[in-house]
């Protein structure tokens, strides 16, 4: 299905990532956004609020994030594409409902413009420390999809892709961007509507009497209907059977809950998108995502100039994690360097998938800023030189850490 020309602001814009995401939401055919103001994601919500009437869409600012996400799940069941926009603390408040959304197999999109944490942290500055949270933040077992764009153009493109994935796999899709990308202004080219491919809601067409809301099709994914269309839906957040009726029997738990994780795990290959560069014969591979992948470019270029065989693996899709890819690369490379704006989250996943075959060097950053590219370069040099296998993650000591903790430094407001 093509996008509706009414919703697409075709042309060349010079806008920041938040605004680009706002335009992307409309272009993706989303008709309902509920949000609550939180720095640094508000501009995306504001943008959508401004353009919503154009697409006959509704923006509502709810009383809190708990309300926003529940309204989004409700709207999705009413049959429209819906999303919410937030940042760290708001994201945390949504955790209960994200699990609920996963349980109900609700297609919806969540844009998280990450900031420095924990708690209130640094609202106006960047972070990438919600990555594990996006996967594990709600109670119980579930799987979600998470994408990490690195430029305003990608925020536009991947917002659309996120909606498509959500509809395809009937699950919450997170766009895990960060403040740097959200507040970075660049040229964004919005193509004409006929060049934007959208995934329509997969609706059930049969008679009401036979409809089973959680009976999967061949690819593990059940079809949906719209609320109020006469299907006499029974949808429960409890563990349920194909009819949606709650079950208390443990047998059903392993059958029906299992599908929630399997529908993602078994479709991994179709979902995962990676960007690879020179990884085939690399000594060292930099694994990065979001803004860190742009910062890493400097370090990589410098290392290449010095003759290090360096590969670059950018995780566009962070969850589900590309286990097999890392396992394969670990067999041929010496080490992975993982720069991320946290004290190790995705690095643990890389370490897990290395199976001791390659070293893992983490270049951490506390947040509120991006890496010094020299740190990444130094880490690459270290990784290339190191001959023995090191158990555990090597945490590279950054210039920032040395500055702050080693001698005479005074904090200035």
């Amino acid at each position: 299905m093509k996008a509706n020309p009414r919703d697409v602001l075709t042309g060349v814009h010079y806008i920041d990532g938040d605004v680009a995401a706002g335009y992307g939401v409309l272009a993706a055919g989303c008709k309902f956004v509920a949000g609550y103001p939180i720095t640094p994601s508000t501009e995306a919500a504001e943008t959508f609020a401004r353009v919503a009437p154009k697409g006959n869409a509704m923006f509502i600012q709810m009383e809190d994030e708990l309300a926003s996400i529940s309204a989004v799940i409700g709207a999705s069941f009413a049959g429209v594409k819906s999303m919410t926009i937030t940042s760290g603390p708001g994201y945390t408040l949504m955790m209960e409902a994200i699990g609920f959304g996963a349980m109900l197999e609700t297609p919806f999109v969540l844009l998280n413009i990450q900031r420095g944490g924990p708690s209130t942290g640094v609202p106006t500055k960047t972070g990438q420390a919600d990555m594990m949270q996006s996967r594990w933040g709600s109670h119980g077992d579930y799987e979600i999809i998470a994408i990490s764009p690195d430029s305003p153009q990608e925020l536009f493109d991947y917002t659309i892709k996120a909606f498509n994935l959500a509809e395809m796999y009937r699950c919450p899709v997170m766009i895990m961007s960060d403040e740097c990308v959200g507040h970075m202004t660049e040229k964004v080219v919005i193509p004409p509507a006929e060049e934007i491919e959208l995934e329509p809601r997969r609706l059930y067409n049969g008679p009401p009497g036979e409809y089973l809301p959680f009976k999967p099709d061949g690819d593990f994914i059940p079809k949906m209907v719209k609320a109020g269309a006469g299907y006499n839906l029974y949808i429960s957040g409890h563990v349920h059977d194909e009819r949606g009726y709650p079950v208390t029997n443990e047998e059903f738990k392993s059958v029906y809950l299992r599908r929630l994780v399997d529908k993602i795990r078994r479709n991994k290959d179709k979902i995962i998108e990676l960007k690879e560069e020179n990884t085939d014969d690399a000594e060292v591979i930099v694994v990065s995502y979001g803004i860190s992948s742009r910062v890493a470019v400097r370090g990589i270029e410098k290392a290449r100039e010095k003759g290090i065989k360096i590969g670059n693996l950018r995780l566009v899709t962070v969850w589900p994690f590309p286990d097999e890819k890392i396992i394969d690369l670990a067999k041929t490379t010496k080490a992975f360097v993982v720069p991320e704006i946290n004290y190790g989250q995705i690095a643990f996943e890389v370490e897990r998938c290395c199976h001791g075959r390659a070293n893992v060097v983490l270049v951490p950053h506390s947040g509120a800023g991006v890496h010094n590219p020299d740190d990444i370069y130094d880490a690459i040099v270290f990784a290339a030189k190191e001959k023995k296998k090191i158990e555990g993650i090597v945490e590279y000591k950054t210039k920032l850490e040395k500055l702050v903790f080693e001698g005479g430094f005074k904090l200035k407001e």
Binding site: Y14, D16, P123, M184, E186, K187, R294
Partner: protein, 181 residues
């Protein structure tokens, strides 16, 4: 490639300056540009800066490492970012608000009373556009025509005339300054 830093405090339109110059370079001069911003929680009065990287090819690394131009509209901004300015760089300051040290290396300093000019034009809020005009005249990184095209749509429509005037004022002043130098 040129790396430009605008620094001042919230409320001066520091980020707006970056956007207008970036838009001019990217859309009307057909170069590539990336603008990123850094600000505190305060809407007004907090330290605030924007970074603009203008390049002939796609901007991969989006931040300023050694700035070619530093536009300082506050003392705090000057103090913080002066050391980042390259030895051959250009420093632009609001002369009423910033007192500078003797220049390092081959740094060229151009000063202009933007806030005063803006107040004379009627609204203090256009001081950033005065500075943009000055910036255009002095640095030649972004063309005059592109800047003029970038202004409409970037400032409120009602205030476009005022902004155009402010831009011209800064531009003229800049041209004179360059001549004198």
């Amino acid at each position: 490639m040129a790396e430009i830093r605008f620094a001042g405090y919230g409320g001066q339109g520091i980020i707006k300056s970056g956007i207008i110059a970036g838009k001019a370079a990217s859309i009307y001069d057909n170069k590539f540009s990336t603008m990123s911003q850094s600000f505190g929680p305060e809407a007004r009065g907090g330290a605030c800066s924007s970074q603009l990287v203008v390049s002939e090819s796609k901007v991969l690394y989006p931040y300023v490492t050694k700035s070619d131009v530093l536009v300082a509209m506050s003392q705090e901004g000057y103090n913080k970012f002066e050391s980042e300015l390259s030895e051959e760089g250009i420093l632009l300051i609001d002369e009423d608000l910033v007192k500078h040290k003797p220049p390092r290396g081959k740094i060229k300093i151009y000063s202009i009373p933007t806030t005063r000019f803006a107040e004379q034009l009627g609204r203090k809020i256009v001081s950033n556009v005065v500075m943009l005009g000055f910036f255009t005249a002095v640095t030649n990184i972004v063309s005059y025509e592109a800047m003029k095209k970038a202004l409409p749509g970037s400032v409120p429509e009602k205030a476009l005339d005022l902004n155009m005037k402010a831009f011209e004022k800064g531009y003229e002043y800049g041209k004179q300054k360059v001549k004198i130098k």
